[in-house]
């Protein structure tokens, strides 16, 4: 749930990049961070242990405009993707305003994608959210790999709700900002609805 700072007239929103291990969540964030104007972004913080890597940074994209005179500040998080770090994922998901599910297009990782998506639904439900009610987009990452499943197959398996979805190759930045814009748009639309 977005946090409103009245003194600085800012609305803080939390977007979480979810997905299975090594699907490219961190690569997405690194690309966004690298390509964002330094004046508009905060520090990039990596909360990493030896095996568990979580990334967090916040930034303030002025271009996304204001809502009733309040600037919107987006905090982007990734979760650890490995299946056994569920406790960390639950924690990071608290108070989420928008979710990006980053799927690994390699056919060998399809089962991990499904597990991660089911896990996302369970963890959201525990906090009283439904995936179809939260601003949510899917990114099919690693489209450049030779063992990528077809887009139709990915959609059929991972996106029965027909959420906005994007093909990406996060290592070169393809599809990264399209994904971010779509989820940010969803979050802002929700905020405007709540403001009415």
């Amino acid at each position: 749930m977005s946090f409103i700072n009245y003194s600085s007239r800012e609305i803080n929103c939390k977007i979480v990049f979810y997905g299975p291990g090594l699907c490219g969540k961190t690569t997405n964030l690194q690309h966004i961070y690298a390509k964002t104007n330094p004046d508009l972004k905060g520090k990039m913080i990596s909360l990493a242990t030896e095996t568990e890597r979580t990334l967090f940074f916040d930034f303030l994209p002025l271009a996304l405009g204001q809502i009733r005179g309040f600037k919107t500040r987006f905090h982007l998080y990734t979760v650890p993707g490995q299946v056994f770090y569920d406790a960390s994922r639950k924690l990071i998901l608290k108070g989420v305003d928008g979710v990006v599910f980053v799927a690994d297009s390699q056919i060998e990782r399809m089962e991990a994608n499904i597990e991660s998506l089911e896990n996302l639904q369970i963890n959201l439900k525990e906090q009283g959210y439904e995936l179809d009610k939260v601003p949510y987009v899917i990114q099919y990452n690693k489209r450049d790999l030779p063992n990528a499943a077809s887009l139709d197959e990915m959609r059929r398996v991972l996106n029965p709700m027909r959420a906005p979805d994007f093909e990406a190759c996060a290592t070169v930045g393809k599809g990264v900002f399209e994904t971010l814009k779509a989820v940010a748009k969803g979050v802002l639309t929700d905020l405007k609805k709540m403001g009415r």
Binding site: P20, G81, E111, A148
Partner: protein, 347 residues
């Protein structure tokens, strides 16, 4: 009787009449442990009086299917599955229609069909996973697999699935059922190519989770020592308890144990399938995050020991998620780790 490996808990069906008064030694194919089994008390006297060559049961399909005409159709969609089954029926063939991967695998193991039409994206277990298991199973060597892509797109997979999963033929969904005709002709099926003849397609005899009888037992070619027919490797995915490959009697004095994969009435099949899936995902994650360590362990031939600490977190997740009755059956994580390592060439 059922004999369980004391080390990894793999279970085998052994005919007690083949066990002598001092028992027989079995080697577990899963963990290679050798253990002794003894006949139950009541069977002891029977064993002493048994004829020299015990009759070995023939495969016993539960229904009167004609194997030479039998096709298993695994299609997630009721309508398209029925269309395919109806066409097969028109061509004078028998068919069993199933709608998920677990059901498909069980039906294939029970009925030993001559051909399987397998949709790649089945629920519960993917068609390509079923295909891999079928192709590893010696007793299903003669079963041809037609793998069906769900989407009509030539570039659906960048690598042809037939190359990846060992299917005999690859067909795209919209080409069903007519695309099957040349495949059936090529496979030598006795086709009736007029639309009148033909028995109706039959529903699967039992739901996937409740399998009433043991699967057909493959008669061994020679008397002893006799290999227990089973999948060539421990199945990586949801399946009933299966005897792994190469389990064999190691004492020459023990005659052929008519052993077969154990498929009993099993209310825990779904939970077991869940456990196997979770094991695959955990192991896949561990290998992804520690590829060098995994490769080194393969080279040293000690993946279970080398990655033991990496499995700890996976074990605690298993504790939380899997029913203890299934969890304690066998070491799902280590078995999956070893399976993947063997696929990558570990001796």
């Amino acid at each position: 009787m059922i004999a369980a490996c004391p080390k990894c808990n793999a279970r085998y069906r052994v005919n007690p009449i083949h066990i002598g008064s001092d028992g027989a030694r079995l080697r577990c194919a899963r963990c290679q442990a050798v253990f002794r089994v003894r006949a139950p008390e009541s069977a002891g006297s029977t064993a002493a009086a048994r004829p020299a060559a015990a009759p070995i049961p023939e495969p016993t399909p539960e229904h009167d299917f004609d194997r030479t005409r039998l096709v298993v159709v695994a299609d997630p969609e009721e309508d398209s599955g029925k269309r395919t089954a109806a066409a097969l029926s028109e061509w004078g063939l028998q068919s069993i229609l199933v709608h998920d991967g677990v059901e498909a695998l069980l039906t294939i193991q029970r009925q030993l069909p001559r051909l399987v039409v397998l949709d790649a994206a089945l629920p519960k277990m993917y068609g390509f996973q079923v295909c891999e298991i079928v192709k590893r199973n010696e007793s299903l060597r003669s079963t041809r697999v037609v793998l069906i892509g769900a989407i009509h797109q030539s570039d659906r997979y960048r690598r042809p699935p037939s190359e990846l999963y060992g299917a005999d033929v690859y067909l795209e969904g919209p080409d069903l059922p007519d695309g099957l005709l040349p495949i059936l002709r090529q496979a030598g099926f006795p086709l009736v190519e007029s639309a009148a003849a033909a028995p109706a397609p039959v529903a699967p005899p039992q739901p996937a989770v409740a399998v009433p009888a043991a699967p057909p037992i493959q008669a061994p070619a020679q008397a002893a020592p006799v290999a227990i027919q089973a999948p060539a490797q421990a199945a990586p995915v949801a399946a009933p308890i299966e005897a792994p490959a190469q389990a064999e009697l190691v004492t020459p004095e023990a005659a052929a144990p008519a052993a077969a994969p154990v498929v009993a009435d099993d209310p825990l099949a779904a939970e077991r399938s869940k456990a196997e899936r979770l094991a695959r995902i955990i192991v896949s994650d561990i290998i992804l995050y520690s590829p060098e360590k995994f490769d080194a362990a393969i080279a040293a031939g000690n993946v279970a020991e080398a990655l033991d600490s990496d499995l700890d977190e996976g074990r605690s997740l298993f504790q939380q998620r899997i029913d203890p009755r299934v969890r304690d059956e066998r070491n799902f994580l280590v078995e999956e780790l070893i399976r993947v390592a063997r696929e990558k060439g570990m001796q």
